[in-house]
């Protein structure tokens, strides 16, 4: 079947890009000035014997390609090596920290979709002063980086009003939801503005279509005209944007998790970067890139469902 063949081809493409990404991620660490061993010793001087032992343990004497392939082989089996800071397997560290990040991203995504679509809808349909207000608000939101939103929200709602905790991820689902509310809003703010803009302009474009006039001329109630013929027609654009939304969410977790000290993989990346814990940096980067590509794949596969004119494999945004 056509669909399966397309999915298989996209999966292969994804694997190829992922391979390239893994090479970049590993190669970048290799290019770091100074020998990895000196990072491991973090500046302390060591006896030649100790250096020898470290080189042995991390296979630092092998040629680059051999080391890359060995690392890749392990990664494929889910083994990202040992974290230098945490002295345990990177995969264990990741498993500990991934749930908080995924929950945070999911919450933020729900907020972005709900608020972005509603604001875009209202702006496009109402017009006038409401629309101008929404335009100005979304312009401000688009200019607010997530860490700025994080610090301001923290100051007002956590420190000032005391409604929410100012740091940590909490224990158990209910507590986690409570802890992650402010971070999720901070993460979402910029993207709400962006999605509202995209939805608004897509709906305005659809509103200009003759088929909308036709539906009205046939007595279709206005609410259904907007829902079935305007909003429905803007969904393709929204879907295309959602790939970008998820990738931005993933990356901005680095900032927001640091601001709220949420022990997710975002903060892990920040900490392991400052401590030069390369195996952990590699693992987190690769996971973020992989998640991003999975999202893009899902978007591509869903597109024909949203827009019957799109046959699999033809991307409308290429035009």
């Amino acid at each position: 079947m056509n669909f399966l063949r397309f999915a298989a081809r996209r999966l292969l493409e994804m694997a190829a890009t992922l391979l390239g990404a893994s090479f970049v991620v590993y190669g970048a660490m290799y290019l770091a000035p100074g020998s990895p061993a000196s990072f491991l010793l973090s500046g302390r001087s060591a006896s030649p014997a100790a250096l020898q032992a470290i080189n042995q343990q991390y296979h630092l004497d092998d040629p680059f390609l051999v080391r890359y392939l060995r690392w890749l082989g392990q990664v494929v089996r889910g083994d990202f090596g040992r974290s230098i800071t945490y002295r345990t397997d990177v995969s264990t560290v990741l498993a500990d920290r991934l749930p908080a990040t995924l929950l945070l991203v999911a919450m933020a995504l729900v907020i972005v979709l709900a608020a972005g679509l509603v604001l875009g809808w209202i702006g496009a349909v109402r017009g006038g002063a409401t629309d101008s207000t929404i335009l100005v608000t979304t312009t401000l939101a688009i200019g607010t980086p997530s860490f700025v939103a994080a610090v301001l929200l923290q100051g007002v709602f956590a420190v000032g009003l005391g409604w929410f905790p100012s740091s940590g991820a909490g224990e158990g689902l209910g507590d986690m939801l409570w802890h992650l509310t402010l971070p999720a809003i901070a993460l979402a703010l910029y993207l709400i503005g962006m999605l509202a803009r995209v939805t608004r302009s897509a709906m305005l474009e659809a509103l200009d279509g003759d088929h909308v006039t036709v539906a009205r001329s046939r007595g279709v109630p206005e609410r259904q005209v907007i829902g079935r013929h305007v909003f429905r027609n803007s969904l393709g654009t929204v879907l295309t944007t959602s790939g970008l939304i998820v990738s931005t969410l993933l990356v901005c977790t680095i900032l927001v998790e640091s601001a709220f000290s949420i022990g997710g993989i975002g903060q892990l990346l920040e900490l392991s970067t400052t401590t030069k814990d390369f195996p952990t940096v590699q693992a987190v980067s690769l996971i973020i890139v992989a998640l991003f590509m999975v999202v893009n794949l899902v978007v591509d596969l869903l597109h024909p469902l949203v827009d019957p004119r799109v046959t699999l494999g033809s991307r409308r945004n290429d035009a």
């Binding site: 335009l135 312009t139 610090v151 990356v251 680095i254 991003f292």
Partner: protein, 286 residues
């Protein structure tokens, strides 16, 4: 048909008028910020790193117009000098990515063939790395300093410029004047540099203007994480980070001010950049 012209949403004209003041305000903010960055050393009332611990977390006063941060440094001085770092970084990102992006795009669009597909492939690979992630990776490797994150972000932004350039060059290549110059024996390089690049420049530069705001946000985020900008250099992102502790102690001013500076500057550059892009698009519908 007369009817199609009439059924247009009448809101449009009015909306454009309503947005004009926003545009003017944004232009003023851009001018103000740039002026502050240029004149900072003369305007700043104190050395940005001069510590007056006795005055730490003090509110606005005649001595310190915008108060003092938790480490006892004058906020106004740090804001003014921070404007330099905060604008210089994005400027570098935009300059690098525009120059390299135009070069890559022109070569890919003009030459086509294997070179084009090779460049497109690597473009896709770069797209897979969100800019911040690439910057974090490179900073992890290179350590402190503004240059590494600027180059990383320039690489991350390059595909946006090169892809745009490529499509513009593809359209430009088909125009009659190009064939005319070829017949007259001008070399491809001459035609590209003298005619093609100047013709597509407005559109590409508009894209770069829009990129400036994004680069500012990304770089401020990096310095918020303590990556990139050296510790003592005043920088808005770093000031937000420093202010976070002040907030915890109930003195939000030294955090709110750099937040405002970032938001206002980004919004101003976005509005000006998008307006420019709109105008270019209207003048030159492709």
């Amino acid at each position: 048909m007369s009817a199609t012209a009439l059924t247009r949403r009448p809101g449009f004209g009015r909306l454009a008028a309503a947005r004009a003041p926003l545009h003017l305000i944004s232009l003023a903010v851009v001018a103000l910020v740039v002026a502050a960055a240029l004149l900072a050393p003369w305007l700043a009332p104190y050395d940005p790193n001069q510590v007056d611990l006795g005055a730490a977390l003090a509110g606005p006063s005649a001595d310190h117009l915008l108060g003092v941060d938790a480490a006892g440094r004058d906020t106004l001085a740090r804001l003014l000098l921070g404007a330099r770092t905060s604008l210089l970084g994005p400027l570098g990102v935009v300059a690098f990515s525009t120059l390299a992006g135009i070069a890559v795009g022109v070569v890919a669009g003009w030459r086509g063939g294997w070179l084009d597909s090779a460049l497109s492939r690597s473009t896709e690979l770069v797209f897979a790395f969100p800019g911040m992630l690439l910057a974090v990776l490179i900073v992890a490797v290179s350590g402190e300093g503004l240059l590494a994150p600027v180059i990383a972000l320039a690489v991350a932004y390059l595909p946006y410029v090169s892809r745009l350039t490529r499509s513009l060059v593809l359209a430009e290549r088909e125009r009659p004047y190009v064939a005319a110059h070829r017949v007259q024996g001008h070399s491809a390089l001459q035609i590209c540099l003298r005619h093609v690049v100047p013709n597509i420049a407005p559109v590409v530069l508009a894209q770069s203007a829009v990129n400036f705001g994004y680069a500012l946000m990304d770089l401020a985020g990096l310095s918020f994480l303590g990556l990139g900008v050296p510790a003592l250099t005043p920088d808005w992102g770093r000031m937000v980070f420093d202010g976070q502790t002040a907030i915890q102690h109930g003195y939000p001013l030294s955090a709110i001010l750099p937040c405002l500076a970032i938001v206002l500057t980004v919004v101003a550059f976005n509005v000006v950049g998008e307006r420019w892009a709109d105008q270019v698009a209207r003048r030159d519908p492709r």
